[in-house]
C-alpha cells in the first residue's frame, strides 16, 4: 500500500481520469433513468478530454506556443521544451464538438422516448412494451 501512494501521486492526472471514467461508466451501467445515464456518458467523455489535455502539459516553465520574436531574428533558438504541446488541445476541440453533438442527439432521442412512453425510467418503458 505504501508503495502505491508515490505511484499515484507521480501520475495523479491519469488516476484522476480513471476515477472520472469509472464514475461515468458506473452511471451508464447502473442507473435506471435515461437522463442519469446521459449524464454518466458526458462524464465518461469528459474524462477522456481531460486525459488528452493533461498529456500536452510540460513542467518547468513551459508556456503557450506563441513565438514572440520573428523567426531567426530572436535572442535564442526555439526549444520545444519551452512550449507546451498544443496538438492534444486542438484534437480535443474536435472531440468536444463530437461529445456535444452526441449529447444533442441523445437528448433529442430522450424527448422522443418521453413523448411515446410518458416516462424516462428504463424499467417502466420495458414493462410497457412487454404488455403490448
Amino acid at each position: 500500500m505504501t508503495d502505491l501512494i508515490p505511484v499515484i501521486v507521480a501520475k495523479y492526472n491519469y488516476w484522476l481520469y480513471i476515477v472520472l471514467m469509472m464514475i461515468g461508466l458506473y452511471a451508464m451501467i447502473a442507473k435506471n433513468n435515461l437522463i442519469k445515464k446521459l449524464v454518466g456518458m458526458n462524464i465518461f467523455q469528459t474524462s477522456i478530454i481531460l486525459f488528452y489535455v493533461s498529456m500536452g502539459c510540460k513542467t518547468g516553465g513551459a508556456t503557450i506556443p506563441i513565438i514572440q520574436h520573428g523567426l531567426g531574428v530572436g535572442h535564442h533558438a526555439i526549444d520545444p521544451a519551452h512550449y507546451v504541446n498544443p496538438l492534444p488541445h486542438v484534437l480535443m476541440l474536435t472531440a468536444i464538438v463530437v461529445s456535444v453533438s452526441t449529447f444533442g442527439v441523445a437528448v433529442a432521442l430522450a424527448i422522443k422516448i418521453y413523448q411515446r412512453h410518458k416516462t424516462l425510467e428504463e424499467d417502466e418503458i420495458l414493462a410497457q412494451s412487454r404488455e403490448r
Binding site: L25, M28, L34, F44, I48, T94, S101, A106, A110, K112
Partner: protein, 497 residues
C-alpha cells in the same frame, strides 16, 4: 482535378447533404435528386480511384498540401479501394431502391432522411479512405451519429433501441479514442504509416499493449462482435427498412475493415502474432460469436431480427478469419467483407420489398409469398443460398478460404463453428422458404379460395434487388480473378501462405 479525387469523394456527399437540407425548406421534391447526385458522385469517384489504384498503385493525398506526419493524409490502396467501391456503390443502389418505401413510411421527413443519408456516406467513406488515426475517430462518430438519428426514424421502440445503441456506440468510440491517446503518448504521431514506423522500437512497452486493447475493444463494440453485440438486433430491427438496408450491410463491414487496417498497417503483424499471444483467444471468441449468433437466430420469429443475428454470426467469420494468422484466413476475411455486404444488402432489400407490400415481417405473415412476390423471393433464395454457402454463389468461396485457413492454422474449433453455422443457416432459411412457399396451400385448403393475385413490388425497388442478387452469382464465378488481382497483393508477406 483528378488529383483531388480522394478529397472530392468525401466533399461531394458532404456538400450535397447541406444542399439537400436547404432544399427541404424550398421544395421537398428537390431532396431526392440532390441526394442521388451526391451519392452518385461519391460512387463515381470511388470507382475511378479503385480503377486507378489497380493500374498505378497506391494513391497518397495530402489535405491542404501539408506533408504527411503533420497534416492529414488520405491513402487509397487496393484494400480500401475495394471497400470504398463496395460502400459507395451499395449506398447508391440502396438510395435508388428505397425511394418508394421512404415516401411510404415517413413522407414528412424526407428532407431530413436524405441529408442524414449523405452524411452517413461521408462518415463511412471517410473512415475507409483516411490514413490518420484521429481523423478516423471523427469520421467514425459522423457515421455513428447519423446512424443513431436514422434508426430513430422508425416507429415503436426505435428511439429506445437507438438510445441504447448511442450509449454503447459512444463507449466504443471513446475506447478507440483512448487507445489513440496512448499511441500518441508513445509515438507523438497520429499518421498511420508514421506510427507504424515508430512502433517496432517500443513493442515491448505495456502502453502499446494497452493502446491495442482499447482500440480493439472500441472497434469490437462498433462492429457488434459477440459479447458486445447486444445493441445490434434491436437497433436494426426497429429501424425503417430503407435505413436497415443501408446501415446493416455497410457499418459493421467498414468496422471490420478498420480492424484489419489497424492490424496490418498500424500495429503490424509481428506485434500482433509474434509479441501478443492473443490470436487464440480471439479465434475462440469468434467461434463463440458464430455459434451464439446462429443459435439466437434460430429463436427469432421475425425475418429482420433473424437477419440481425445472422450478421452477428457473420462478424464472427470475419474477425476469426483475420485472427487465424495465415494468408488463407486473411483472404477469406477480406473477401467476406465484399461478399457479406452484398448478401446482407440483398436480404434487407428483399425484406424491405416484402414489408412495403404486406406491412409486416413476422413469420406467420409470410405465407404464400412465393405466389405473390416471385421475383423478390427468388432474390431472397439466392441470398439465402449464398449465406448457407452453396457453390455458384459468392458465400461459398469466402467460406472455403476461411475453412482452408482454419485447417492450416489447426483451429479445428473455428472449422467446426463454420460448419455448424452453415447447417443452422440451412434450417433458418428453409423454415422461411417452407412457410412462404407451402404456407399458402394449407391456407387455401382451409378456406377453399383460389391462390392470391401477384402483388410484386414496384420496378424501381425490384431492379436494384435483381442487380445485387445477380452480383452474388457473378462475384462467385469471378472469385478466382478477384482473389489473385485484388486481395493477394494486400496480404502482408509476413503471413504464412
Amino acid at each position: 482535378m483528378n488529383d483531388h479525387y480522394p478529397a472530392l469523394l468525401i466533399i461531394s456527399p458532404l456538400l450535397f447533404s447541406y444542399l439537400t437540407s436547404a432544399a427541404a425548406w424550398i421544395r421537398k421534391g428537390l431532396c431526392y435528386p440532390l441526394a442521388v447526385v451526391g451519392s452518385g458522385l461519391s460512387a463515381w469517384f470511388s470507382v475511378w480511384l479503385f480503377a486507378n489504384v489497380l493500374q498505378k498503385g497506391t494513391i497518397e493525398y495530402r489535405l491542404g498540401g501539408w506533408e504527411a506526419p503533420w497534416g492529414i493524409g488520405y491513402r487509397v490502396d487496393t484494400l480500401n479501394g475495394l471497400v470504398l467501391t463496395v460502400v459507395s456503390v451499395l449506398a447508391f443502389i440502396n438510395l435508388v431502391s428505397t425511394r418508394r418505401s421512404v415516401a411510404a413510411e415517413f413522407p414528412e421527413k424526407e428532407g431530413a432522411f436524405y441529408t442524414l443519408y449523405l452524411l452517413f456516406i461521408v462518415g463511412l467513406v471517410g473512415m475507409t479512405v483516411t490514413g490518420d488515426l484521429f481523423n478516423l475517430y471523427v469520421l467514425l462518430e459522423v457515421a455513428s451519429l447519423t446512424s443513431y438519428a436514422l434508426i430513430a426514424l422508425g416507429g415503436g421502440r426505435a428511439p429506445l433501441a437507438s438510445l441504447n445503441y448511442l450509449f454503447m456506440g459512444t463507449i466504443g468510440g471513446c475506447f478507440y479514442l483512448l487507445g489513440v491517446g496512448y499511441l500518441y503518448i508513445m509515438t507523438g504521431s497520429l499518421n498511420m504509416a508514421d506510427v507504424a514506423s515508430l512502433l517496432p522500437a517500443i513493442h515491448t512497452s505495456s502502453a502499446v499493449w494497452v493502446a491495442f486493447t482499447f482500440c480493439m475493444v472500441g472497434v469490437g463494440l462498433k462492429m457488434a462482435f459477440f459479447p458486445l453485440h447486444v445493441w445490434l438486433p434491436n437497433a436494426y430491427t426497429y429501424a425503417p427498412s430503407a435505413v436497415s438496408s443501408l446501415i446493416a450491410p455497410l457499418m459493421t463491414k467498414v468496422m471490420v475493415y478498420v480492424m484489419i487496417r489497424l492490424m496490418i498497417s498500424v500495429f503490424s503483424l509481428d506485434f500482433i502474432f509474434g509479441y501478443l499471444k492473443v490470436a487464440d483467444p480471439m479465434v475462440w471468441l469468434s467461434v463463440l460469436a458464430i455459434i451464439m449468433g446462429a443459435l439466437l437466430a434460430l429463436a427469432q420469429k421475425n425475418l429482420k431480427r433473424m437477419f440481425c443475428y445472422i450478421i452477428v454470426s457473420e462478424i464472427g467469420y470475419m474477425v476469426g478469419g483475420a485472427w487465424l494468422g495465415n494468408a488463407a484466413g486473411m483472404t477469406g476475411a477480406i473477401l467476406h467483407i465484399l461478399n457479406d455486404a452484398l448478401m446482407t444488402i440483398t436480404l434487407f432489400l428483399a425484406a424491405g420489398n416484402i414489408y412495403y407490400k404486406i406491412n409486416g415481417l413476422e413469420f406467420h405473415q409470410l405465407r404464400g409469398l412465393f405466389h405473390r412476390m416471385p421475383l423478390t423471393m427468388a432474390c431472397f433464395v439466392t441470398a439465402a443460398l449464398s449465406i448457407i454457402g452453396v457453390p455458384p454463389t459468392c458465400g461459398f468461396f469466402s467460406k472455403w478460404y476461411l475453412i482452408t485457413g482454419a485447417l492450416q492454422a489447426g483451429q479445428y474449433g473455428f472449422l467446426a463453428a463454420l460448419l455448424f453455422s452453415s447447417l443452422v443457416n440451412v434450417i433458418l432459411f428453409f423454415r422461411v422458404i417452407e412457410i412462404s412457399y407451402y404456407g399458402d396451400m394449407q391456407h387455401a385448403h382451409g378456406h377453399g379460395s383460389p391462390s392470391e393475385p401477384r402483388t410484386e413490388a414496384p420496378a424501381t425497388m425490384l431492379t436494384p434487388l435483381l442487380i445485387v442478387s445477380t452480383g452474388l452469382v457473378i462475384i462467385g464465378m469471378y472469385t478466382g480473378t478477384i482473389v489473385t488481382t485484388l486481395i493477394d497483393p494486400i496480404i502482408p508477406a509476413a503471413l504464412a501462405r
